[in-house]
């Protein structure tokens, strides 16, 4: 049965009426045309579909839209501040971290989520979170360097 669901999406209030069992990923991509969030596996195993749900990095493919009611969702489209990229996005571009780029949106939000959870997180802690993400091009070395760069930036910003 269709239900009315209200949430904040990339800073704006949204209300949609749909089947609450549909996945957040599907609604983002098909109803709201926010295709930056990717489908990779549909079972939370690869994290290409990562969004921030109340600041926590969350696989949107196994999150039903009904559960998003009254929460705050940030997708990759909502991360940059106008033309100014988020420092994690900036670091990923500077390091040429990705190859095909399909996992990138999820990777970016994974790092942002890890640093939101604990702004003083150690590299080991952040990498433990990132263990949930798959890059099939296996560009892990460059991603790791980019994450270190982003963390250094974050450290400067926090200081």
């Amino acid at each position: 049965m269709d239900t009315k669901i209200s949430f904040t999406l990339n800073g704006k209030a949204r209300t949609i009426t749909t089947d609450p069992d549909r996945s957040l990923l599907e609604v983002l991509r098909e109803d709201l045309q926010l295709t930056g969030t990717k489908f990779g596996c549909g079972e939370g195993q690869c994290r290409a579909c990562t969004v921030l749900l109340d600041g926590v990095s969350t696989p949107s493919c196994i999150t039903s839209i009904g559960d998003v009611d009254k929460t705050e969702v940030v997708t990759i489209e909502g991360l940059a501040n106008g033309d100014k990229l988020h420092p994690v996005q900036e670091a990923f571009v500077s390091e040429g971290a990705f190859q095909c780029g399909y996992c990138t949106a999820g990777m970016v939000l994974g790092v942002v989520g890890a640093l939101k959870k604990n702004p003083k997180a150690s590299e080991t802690e952040v990498m433990a979170e990132m263990q949930r993400h798959i890059c099939r091009c296996c560009s892990y070395e460059k991603y790791k360097t980019a994450i270190q760069r982003a963390m250094a930036q974050n450290g400067k910003a926090a200081a």
Partner: protein, 715 residues
Amino acid sequence: MKTIPPEIPQPDVEEINYDELVERVDYDFGLSRRSFVKVLGAGLLLAVSLPAIAQESGRRSRAGGARNLGARIHIGKDGVITVLTGKVEGGQGARAELSQAAAEELGVPLSSVRMLMADTGAVPDDGGTYGSMTTPRTVPPVRQGAAAARALLIEFAMQQWQVARETVQMRDGKIFDAAGKRSLTYADLANSDEAAQLLEQAIPADVKLTAVNEWKVLGAPALRPNARDIVTGAHKFPSDITRAGMLYGKILRAPSYGAKLISIDLAPAKAMKDVVVVQDDQFVGVAAPNSSLAETAMQKISDTAKWETVSHPSSKELFDYLKQNTEGGVPKNPFADELTGAKVVRKEYHIPYIQHAPLEPRAAVAEWSGDQLTVWTGSQNPFGVRGELAHAFHLPPENMRVVIPDFGGGFGGKHTGECAIEAARLAKAAGKPVSLRWTREEEFTWAYFRPAGVIEAEASLDAQGKIATWHFININSGAQAVDTPYTVGKRNCHYIASRPPLRHGSYRALASTANNFAREAFMDEVAAAAGADPLEFRLAHLENPRLRAVLEKAAKEFDWSTRVKKTDANLGVGLACGMEKGSFVAACAEVQLDRKANQIKVTRVCQAFECGKILNPANLLAQVQGGIVMGLGATLREEMQFEQGRITNASFRKYRVPRFDDLPELDVHLLDRPDLPSVGAGETPIIIIAPAVANAVFHATGKSVRALPVNLVAA
């Protein structure tokens, strides 16, 4: 394809017809003939014979390249320069590299060049993007086209100013006169009356190219031009393409390989509002305004489907099955008579099926306008997909436009157009655009696999400890690199076909991963029989100077001679080398074993790689690093398991690809050779990872490794 002028020596790259390696799904939706689908489960069912596709497959020998300058380079009146190519970007770096090639010869900054890639309605057919061919085969014609455009601009300036060639100079994308006062740009050329006519001319084969020592853009690191759109989510991958009124599709899949649909009741789906249902013999699909509805509709009808199944070998009996089903039996060692009294080593190697598992599963959006079709899809072979569509719908290829947006990974796994055809069939029935995106399970089950293989190797040593005879037979997985690069007394190296139980096709470096694994693991066994160090034994049998150079470099940087002497029962080192697609690679690996947990941790990989003159060092490093780590997945864990025609590990939960914690310490050495032509590099770095790790396990345990993935219990 244009003839390459003498300035660019042709690299020694073997000609391979990639399209013959890949089994296609033979969809046929002709109106007059009875429509059918040759269902997968290839080898057990039907040999695929597709003359129409072969003609339209866009394979290299048929790929025409650009017919004239205007077909390769478009100069806008606003000065924007667009380079047109049939190559695709799937993460391997073609977009950056071809931009560099054009910018270098045009004499403009990299940022001034736009690439229009893989839109069959607009670009020349440069052949498929595989076989590491973009660098040796497409960079040269792009350079030639760009150099021809620069020559036009120079000529244009000479005519405008009525001056001699030596008085004009190219600087910062402009032509200046001797005094440096007057200048002309590509925009001026484009706005001239003669422009259209000038661009109609053929690209002269003898156009002068910029010498390597004068390069400013090529040879320097270049980032992917659309990197910003990737990190903001703005880039539209094939699965992100949206069209007005678009529906989302779902295809009925057989419950097991080779199963035939006997009956199905479509009524439950037809009763659903806004749902389109189509059956065309074995092909059944639905399309609906969103994916959930499409899934629900498909579930309802698939519950009613009756199937006739066939028997199918399981992965447990795979290797016996392959051996028993060879074409004409397994050849015997022709040197058998010479083995008496000699030291002989004989081993058998097993290579499982694995899946490319690109992170973006196959996806396509199809839109008809009358009998004209446009499809956006992720494929390495745009003109090949166009041919498949034309074949399936009995329409001329000119009616089919295939657009390949930069897509989410291929690794040799996306040569075909089955998803495009399926989306097009649904769109035809719906009268609306349809987006079809395969699930991960579909990708793991219905995409083609890297071929499994059995390799039989037998070698004998002479009194000096040199290899006297070498017998090496690859069953099923392919001919690539089946021959040995080592100097041996007599050799007998062959590939023989079997009846593959799964649909197979290309993979990163083709059969080279299998043949290099077996050969290099076997070399360590033969070296052990000779009582020789693996490095010394290889060097004693190796003449190719480029292969020697990478092997010696990797061994030196890894400090092989010191590390190999260490005796820690849980620490091992191994090395391997090989060549492929004209490039050369060697790696040393260190492993740490946890015997109780049956775990192998690769702690360090030192690789030396050489592919001629390096065009984009940043991207090359990424390709090498990615190839190494992807290779670790196939070495340590990846293996398709199947039973009764079903894949039993069709998910990332069960089929475990590399993650961050698999990343070893990487020590990569790229050998730049400005004196040699550039060849591709996306494939070769992977070929020696499995044997280097296997040999390291052999070193630590004293038990040799003869199967992938490497299992400590078996070793």
